[in-house]
């Protein structure tokens, strides 16, 4: 053995040791930092929203001071300072937040002054007017002041360009007048004008700032940052994986060199001559290897362990030496596992694989283990070397990835893929054990509206609460999954069909009643409900896919039954689905076959009992189906998009009929026509209406278009643009079925509507149903306070008429006066009314 070789060996061992150690340290992924950063960014997002909300509350006068706003800004600023600026996306987020905070500061300063002047001016104008009248000095001044008062009122109601101009002109006129005046109260007037001017200037600036706040890209940038974090994190996971591979190779090399050194050591020992340096070297490598190493004799009695062994297992060298490595056994592998392992060692001299061991403190951990048998030159087993890595860190990562793949991160429930897997397994098991399984397909009613009206963040919050509530409704043996969006699935297994049919409805009931509580979402409150479909294995379907499909179908059945209920799947449903398909097919042809007809239901003045308007209603007489209920076919027309063409036909037919009536019978007659959500989503709607008005020469104000509450009112939606275009044409817009949807104040203010139509539901049972009485009264009062006119539908009794009159609702529609009638009958009604007597004032 020459010295050079020995030196090379020494060098090689040290090099691999260094390599292995450095690779090991690089292979550790910093989970904590990833979680911390994500948490921080989420907090920032939350706080920015808080600040915007605080600003909004101040602007709306809901908060009387700026303390909340100030505090929100302060917290946001502190969070903002914690951002790690080595990432460019973070720098941008920080800048966006700083801008937001600065704008909030400006809003406070401007709002204080604006608010003060707006509070002061109306009263001051009144006082001055009184004084002018008393002194009777300057009637022109009084008139101009009155003009200013009116313009302030208009400006206050709607600060649009024309009203701002009007207000400004009124100020200018008075200012000019003031210059020519030398009369008292000159000083008071000039102060008043200063305040008025200030209102205009500050309103503009505030409007701009509010616009900035509303459009602040915080949420977008937060999304960018989180996406970047996630991809960095994924990249470092991948990198760590590669480095780990390198690490294994390096350690393997290290092990080989240790083995070689040990063999040489043994040879040297057998020669009863020691090369002391080589021995020390091997000992150093052994001791400092980052992997745990156990050296045992041929009977597997431990001779020596290294530092890494003690660190991982918790057993010191003294604890271990003399014992069998089975002290580490966790019991998680059975004896066959060990038998196979030893058989392989015996045969190939080597075994490697993953297994679970137990630390001295009882904790179980995963390790990657290699066992090498050492043989003497005569090929007799002399020693074992076991080398292992603690995989707990890596396992945690894998578990996290497993979690992401199988669980919904928002609600922690099983996701669609895990649920489907589990269901398949349950069904296999169910076939074997003759179990019954029920799927409860839960879909939240009107969740979309919550998302649209309160934002996705609030929607997510609601989903988390709903998920928790559903979990509390089921038993430990049942499982809950989030199937996607606002859909959840509960799986119930029972040994018999009878038990299942008994228990599934109990659980469904429980879920329905739990979900109909009030949900607090930040400052908002919401009520929701759910529709549940129940399908049973094996009665309803034999496979996982078909069972799911049946449950889904049953859920839709529940929706049709008015939501907030549960339905079992049954064969009757299949029949229903077939009818639906048939109706859709026939409906496509109904127009060209002249099967559709417009009926007219009078809208009348309850006091004078005179027809003021007709609502155009679509009817369908089918040669085979007979009279198809409108609720049924209109829903199908909506879903299939057929409503767009049919709706236009109704519009055209009804408007032309109105023009005839106006010419022949009553020139002040109005017509109300329903416009579907789908129609409002088409670009050309307003153009079509415009051309129809031009062709028929109908004055636009006689056309009233009824829209429902479930239209989209997002700022950039086509729907909202259409409503404003229609409004600009001079057409009247009204809100149909009011009270059944999700309207709130902001929503109503945003729409250019002029009339609310109280849904028939709230009119029914008046005056006996005190709830309905209260609600109808509230709607009427609210409509008046917002400047809307109001009409009640479903008026069927004299008592209801009397109630409406007493509460200030003067327009009605319903069977009491007349049901919807065909054109000829409607013409007769009008003729009776107006041919003999001239129209009276409304």
């Amino acid at each position: 053995m020459n010295k050079a070789l020995e030196f090379l060996l020494l060098f090689f061992m040290l090099a691999t040791l260094v390599l292995a150690s450095s690779l090991y340290s690089k292979s550790q992924v910093d989970h904590q930092s990833y979680q911390d950063q994500t948490h921080l960014v989420n907090q920032i997002n939350e706080q920015a929203a808080q600040l915007s909300l605080a600003i909004f509350l101040v602007a709306e006068g809901e908060r009387l001071n700026y303390d909340n706003m100030t505090l929100s800004g302060k917290v946001l600023k502190e969070l903002n300072q914690q951002l790690d600026l080595s990432q460019p996306e973070n720098t941008k987020l920080q800048q966006i937040n700083l801008l937001l905070i600065e704008q909030a500061e400006k809003i406070k300063s401007l709002h204080a002054v604006y608010h003060n002047s707006l509070f002061f001016l109306p009263k001051e104008m009144n006082d001055l007017q009184v004084q002018l009248k008393r002194s009777n000095q300057s009637p022109i001044l009084a008139i101009q002041l009155a003009a200013l008062q009116q313009h302030l009122l208009l400006f206050n109601l709607s600060p649009d360009t024309s009203n701002i101009q009007g207000f400004q002109q009124a100020i200018d006129t008075l200012s000019r007048h003031e210059l020519n005046l030398k009369i008292t109260p000159n000083n008071r007037l000039s102060l008043l004008l200063k305040h008025a001017q200030l209102i205009i200037n500050y309103q503009q600036q505030l409007k701009q700032l509010f616009q900035h706040i509303i459009n602040s890209p915080v949420a977008t940038q937060v999304h960018v940052v989180l996406t970047a974090y996630a991809s960095h994190f994924q990249a470092s996971l991948n990198k760590a994986e590669n480095i780990k591979k390198g690490f294994y190779i390096a350690t393997l090399l290290l092990i080989l060199s240790v083995i070689w050194a040990l063999i040489r050591l043994k040879r040297a020992l057998s020669k009863l001559y020691t090369n002391e340096r080589s021995l020390r070297l091997a000992a150093t490598v052994f001791e400092h290897s980052p992997e745990g190493i156990v050296l045992s004799d041929e009977n597997n009695k431990i001779l020596q362990v290294n530092k890494a062994f003690s660190e991982v297992t918790g057993y010191s060298a003294e604890d271990a030496i003399g014992n069998n490595p089975s002290i580490l056994s966790s019991g998680m592998q059975d004896s066959t596992f060990y038998q196979a392992m030893w058989a392989e060692i015996k045969e190939h001299g080597l075994w490697s694989g993953e297994l679970y061991n137990r630390r001295k403190n009882g904790e179980i951990y995963p390790e990657f283990l290699r066992v090498i048998a050492i043989k003497d030159p005569q090929n007799r087993l002399t020693h074992h070397i076991a080398i292992f890595n603690d995989l707990s860190g890596q396992k945690a990562t894998e578990q996290h990835i497993h979690f992401l793949a199988h669980f919904d991160p928002l609600t922690d429930l099983a996701n669609r893929s895990l649920f489907t897997d589990q269901l398949k397994k349950s069904i296999l098991k169910g076939r074997k054990n003759q179990n019954s399984i029920a799927l409860l397909f839960i879909d939240l009613d009107r969740f979309k509206e919550i998302n649209e009206n309160f934002g996705h963040k609030v929607g997510d919050q609601l989903l988390v609460q709903v998920a928790n509530d559903i979990k509390h409704c089921v038993r430990e043996t049942d499982s809950v999954a989030r199937f996607g969006g606002d859909e959840f699935i509960v799986t119930i297994e029972e040994p018999t069909y009878d038990e299942l049919v008994l228990n599934a409805p109990i659980i469904a009931e429980k879920i329905l009643s739990t979900l109909s509580q009030q949900y607090h979402l930040g400052t908002a409150h919401a009520y929701i409900s759910a529709s549940i479909g129940i399908a049973i294995f094996p009665e309803d379907a034999p496979t996982a896919e078909s069972l799911l499909q049946r449950a889904d179908l049953a859920m839709h059945h529940a929706k049709e039954k008015g939501k907030n209920n549960y339905q079992f799947y049954s064969e009757a449903l299949n029949v229903k689905a077939k009818r639906r398909a048939y109706i859709e097919r026939e409906l496509r042809l109904a127009l060209s076959r002249n099967q559709l007809e417009v009926y007219y239901q009078p809208q009348y003045n309850i006091l004078s009992k005179q027809i003021k308007s007709f609502e155009a209603l679509l009817r369908w007489q089918h040669p085979e189906l007979g009279f198809v209920p409108p609720e049924e076919f209109i829903a199908i027309a909506e879903e299939s998009g057929l409503i767009v063409n049919i709706g236009l036909w109704v519009l055209e037919t009804a408007v032309k009929q109105l023009v005839i009536w106006q010419k022949e019978l009553y020139s002040e007659l109005f017509i109300a026509i329903n416009i579907s959500v789908k129609q409002l989503e088409t670009d050309e709607l307003s153009q079509l209406v415009k051309s129809l008005l031009e062709r028929t020469l109908l004055h636009p104000e006689y056309l009233e278009l009824e829209v429902t509450e479930n239209i989209s009112i997002e700022d950039d939606s086509i729907t909202l643009a259409n409503l404003y275009k229609l409004n600009k044409l001079g057409v009247q817009l009204s809100m149909d079925d009011f009270g059944t949807g999700y309207s709130n104040m902001t929503y109503l203010k945003k729409l250019p509507i002029e009339r609310l139509k109280i849904d028939r539901y709230f009119i029914s049972d008046i005056p006996h149903d005190t709830n309905n009485v209260a609600i109808a009264q509230a709607i009427i009062v609210m409509a008046h306070s917002l400047g809307f006119s109001v009409i009640a539908e479903g008026v069927e009794t004299l008592e209801q008429e009397e109630f409406l009159l007493n509460n200030g609702c003067y327009m009605g529609q319903g069977f009491l006066f007349s049901k919807p009638v065909p054109t000829q009958k409607a013409t007769d009604l009008l003729r009776n009314e107006y041919e003999k007597k001239p129209p009276q004032l409304h």
Binding site: Y66, S109, L191, S516
Partner: protein, 317 residues
Amino acid sequence: MIKLISLLLLSVSSHSIAATRLLNEPISPIPDAIIHSVEQVELGRLLFHDVRLSENDQLSCASCHSLKKGGADGQVVSSGVNGHKGLINSPSIFNSSLNFRQFWDGRADSLLSQVDGPLNNPLEMNISWAGVLAKLQQDTFYVDLFKQAYATGLSINNIKAAIVSFEESLLTPNSRFDLYLKNKANAISTEELEGYRLFKQYGCISCHQGAAVGGNLYQTFGIMGDYFADRGNITPADLGRYQVTHDEKDKYVFKVPSLRNVALTAPYFHDGSAKNLEAAVEIMMVYQLGRISTKQDIRKIVLFLKTLTGQYNNKPL
């Protein structure tokens, strides 16, 4: 559907207010101070009153922010070391933790960053932190106290932190007006209540609101009239926030001061130009509010302002 409608009605009505016995007013009561560590606060108190925090041991923080003078010094502008005249009126140290930013021009965003200002200012205490540390290290009394109060002992950061702890303890709750807000109707007289009504009616409340009755926003001095042109002799300190941002829009913009304990801190404004509250309110009426006021109304508003004097350590200030 009934549920939906009640949701609708809920959102139409104002947001529900938590059950509390407080009156719903733009001003809210000052909370009681929360003290995390008595040692740190007491250490801060010593430092606050220690002249070694200035060049040649001439001044302490308390020289300009005396707890006996409403947390200020009663001067038009404060005096610094070697008799230097300062540039601006000393604001009260009481309730300063409620301010959204510190200094008249709001250049410090926390008490911790505020401390550096006067200490390093050549016209005020004119000393470096290293200089202060060197002096305190010679005093074993301080070294021991710091050891007790802070794990890391005497250091520049801990000196600042102790001063801030002390400043944060300087809240003045239980003013007569706060008692009124807490629904003790007899806490203030009818005339004082009338003063508060006028305070709101004239619009003072627009800026002076919240727990500190101000101190939470910036405002331009001279919205309705040019105060500085009328007063004349414009100094750099008059430019306010412009000195920090150099943005034209920030000229003459100041932090709206808190009116807590205002009766004790004459003279008023950043320039100390108003000798008493009546004069200060009158200037506000003309230059900020653009209102014509009567002497009687101003007198009543001043009566109200006097009810804002609170208690420190359970004793009236």
